[in-house]
Amino acid sequence: MSEALLTTGAGAVTPAPGGRLFWRRLRAQRAVTAAAAVFALLVLVALAAPLLTALEGQDPNAYHPTLVDSASGGVPIGAFGGISGEHWLGVEPQTGRDLFARIVYGARVSLGVAFVATLIQVALGVALGLFAALGGRWADQIVSRVTDVAAALPMLVITLGLLAVAPASIPRPVLITLIIAGLGWFGTSKIVRAGALALKTVDHVSAARLSGWGTWAVARRELLPALAAPVITYAVLLVPSNVVAEAALSFLGVGIKPPTPSWGQMLTDANTWYQAAPTYLLLPAALLFVTVLSLTVIGEGVRTALDPRAASRLRVGTGKSLEEKVS
């Protein structure tokens, strides 16, 4: 994230075995530690949702018609969206459901779906991107054409098809994750393909090929580490778009079944409410932002830690000397 981080890593450039060095360089970045803590907290909140709501004493789906002003459209009664000792973050407009409970439960769906989908997207994208770049002209043609088809098919149409054929026995979150993943892999694949094509000609990749590694082993050993930076950077940004995609799917009817909350849906519903009940919009928005921010910091840290040069070469000959800091 910040240069300070990069340079803190620099102090640690003493030989150490790859994996350990990576962790050390990662941990040496204070912001990464902080971001990881924030993220861990979010995950914890998601996991402990039932506990937390029990602590608050609220049910995420219980209506409280008396807490909203029906005549004016259902605005929560009271300051800041009805924040009180009972409702820590206030209540939802129109329904009066407890916002805190909905947000912590929403974290489960949003983080879960968005993460798994991102993982699948990245895995698919990386595999297909490498296949296109390394598999020869035909492989490239095929993957590129499949990418075109996938990119051109609107979510709505896919959803229609899936709604029709997916057996009801498939759990909703799985279905959603699959749809989102199936629709969002090609960005990664494009990036990977572009990067791999450029890297393919570099001598160290040639050397690995001569060493006797097969194409895929070369990809894994030489290309992937170099592609990690753009892929991680991109993957981090897939998370918020997946959260929003989940909301869009619920619009189309294959989202998480109501009344189960999710951040994306809350954002969608809160859209028009920002003047009348700002907390309703701001809470999920802020949480999504914090998630993305912490992931970005972590991703950036991983990127830095993965590159042994970053620390010592990045600033070669630039004025801002590190010498003083290190010595």
Binding site: N61, A62, Y63, P65, G73, L163, G253, Q275
Partner: protein, 548 residues
């Protein structure tokens, strides 16, 4: 019909006397994709269409309950029935002309109605097909070898006679629909006609872009105000833009910047979040008109599906519903009124108040539990509620979850099954696929009990292989015959209370649980005058609006 337009008592907009001139701008959400009079399905002739199409009769252009009356338009009166109301005769006014100056004849009205039977131009209301003699078999003028529909007679250019299968006292209401607009045969080019329909009203279409997305209407010089006391036609031009987001429409109307000062909307309500803002701003509040349209949202049961075959279960649910939550789900008490009757709460419908299973504002869980116990479900009950996935709609997930929460208190576990728009419509209207417990709504084609009760509760209207609306499969001989009896009445004020009584009688069966009637809040631009919202359509009547 099953879907509704919008309702009225007005009192909004700028004060002062309205004047001719200026340009009115209409900001809409839905495009006017259909502009063929044969295909339109609009209550009372619609809004924008009624500026172009005149019909035999029309709705009275007045605010509130006064607006539920039917008045003559092209015809000299609202129709002359024979003794048992099976033959209706109309005579055209003098000096009626199309936009090109040619005279309007009854043959053109007959032709317009015949066209609406063509498969290419389907979409209109079902009444002509059901009521006219030979209507069910007729396939339109393109396939009849020039014979036409014999049950419509035009003895001369000014007279037209309709022969019906059975007595229909509400025929004058039907004659307000756009199928009754004249279409000159020579100008008919089938599906292309809507690109430039020939105007008989105060405005003609000069531009129709993107299939009704952007319409520009200008004065029709051959329209004469003297033959048309209803349409005021103050503005010189009317510009209708659609495809706009509802929230944006309301933002634009409230900002009333530039041309938006002279803007109205005919299809966009104030949303719940916007109500709060309007409530806090007096100036804005003065620009909001309130309307009612005969519409009821309800829970429908399919008694062929267990456990809803048991009336006690249905009653238990009727007791358990929390109407406050349900009302809140669609925007609160300003946008919906809790309903315990199936008929809308308007005189024209014959509204007779009753509350057979009093649930109070937030449900009577105790009574519901008691009934469930009697029905053999003392340990609780799990059911599936089918709803539409359309967000924010009255049949959508919001209302469904509100009910789910309410029924939980009565020990009923509700699972939700959300269906995508088409699927939902298809499923709930199919005799074979109809679920046991679902959300439904019904709107009036005209303000009377007939089109409200008959399709839903008349046993002879159960459609086996088409869209069925008698979802409760009610086939009660006494109900059927009472419907026939009331239909014979041509005195609508006498008919109304009998519809109300019938409603209550049907209500005892608990095949539906009424939830709420929607209320419409419409914002207008700051320069808009003469805002009229009738209880027939619930929307502001463009033909009355002035911008000067």
């Amino acid at each position: 019909g099953p879907e509704g337009g919008g309702a009225g008592n007005a009192g909004a907009g700028a004060s002062g006397t309205p004047h001719q001139g200026g340009a009115l701008s209409v900001l809409n959400n839905e495009a006017q994709t259909d502009f063929d009079p044969a295909r339109l399905y609009t209550s009372g002739g619609g809004n924008v269409p009624s500026l172009v199409f005149r019909t035999l009769t029309t709705r009275k252009r007045a605010g509130g309950a006064e607006g539920t009356k039917v008045v003559p338009d092209l015809a000299t009166d609202t129709g002359r029935p024979n003794a048992d109301a099976t033959v209706w005769t109309y005579t055209l006014k003098d000096g009626l002309k199309y936009e090109d100056g040619s005279p309007i004849t009854t043959a053109d009205i007959k032709y317009g109605i015949e066209r609406s039977f063509a498969a290419e131009l389907s979409g209109g209301a079902p009444y002509l097909r059901d009521w006219l003699v030979g209507g069910a078999q007729y396939q339109g003028p393109y396939k009849d070898g020039g014979k036409g529909l014999a049950s419509i007679e035009t003895p001369d250019a000014r007279t037209i006679v309709f022969h019906l299968n059975k007595p229909e006292g509400e025929f004058p209401f039907l004659a307000t629909q756009t199928q009754f607009a004249p279409v000159p045969k020579a100008k008919d080019n089938g599906t292309k006609y809507e690109e430039h329909p020939v105007s008989s009203g105060p405005y003609k279409v000069v531009k129709n872009e993107n299939n009704g997305e952007h319409l520009v209407l200008e004065r029709n010089p051959n329209w004469s105000a003297s033959t048309d006391p209803e349409r005021k036609a103050y503005p010189d031009t009317i510009d209708v833009r659609s495809g706009l987001d509802q929230a944006v429409i309301n933002q634009r109307l409230s900002a009333s910047q530039g041309p938006d000062a002279a803007a109205v909307t005919t299809d966009t309500n104030l949303g719940p979040a916007e109500l709060a803002k309007v409530g806090a701003d007096k100036q804005l509040a003065a620009r909001v008109g309130t309307g009612h349209f005969g519409y009821t949202n309800y829970i429908a049961f399919n008694p062929n599906v267990k456990p809803f075959d048991n009336p006690k279960v249905r009653q238990a649910i009727a007791y358990a519903v929390d109407r406050t939550s349900a009302v809140n789900a669609v925007g609160g008490s300003s946008l919906a009124e809790p309903a315990t009757t199936f008929l809308p709460n308007q005189k024209a419908f014959g509204y007779t108040p009753y509350d057979l299973f009093p649930a109070g504002p937030s449900g009577n869980a105790a009574k519901a539990k008691e009934l469930l116990k009697e029905a053999g479900y003392g340990d609780g009950l799990t059911v599936t509620l089918t709803h539409s996935n359309a967000k924010g709609g009255p049949k959508g997930p919001e209302v469904a979850t509100a009910l789910q929460d309410a029924l939980k208190k009565a020990g009923i576990t509700v699972k939700l099954q959300g269906l995508e728009g088409n699927d939902y419509n298809d499923t709930v209207a199919s005799v074979k696929k109809e679920p046991g417990f679902f959300l439904r709504g019904w709107g009036a084609d005209w303000p009377s009990g007939g089109p409200f009760l008959a399709p839903i509760f008349d046993g002879r209207q159960i459609v086996k292989d088409g869209a069925n609306f008698n979802t409760g499969f009610l086939n009660d001989a006494s109900v059927n015959s009472e419907i026939d009896e009331i239909n014979k009445l041509t005195d609508l004020t006498a008919a109304a209370p009998r519809w109300g009584a019938l409603d209550k009688k049907i209500g005892e069966q608990a095949v539906v649980v009424p939830l709420f009637h929607p209320v419409y809040k419409r914002l207008v631009g700051k320069d808009v005058k003469n805002v009229v919202i009738s209880d027939w359509t619930g929307v502001l009547d463009i033909s009355q609006v002035a911008v000067k």
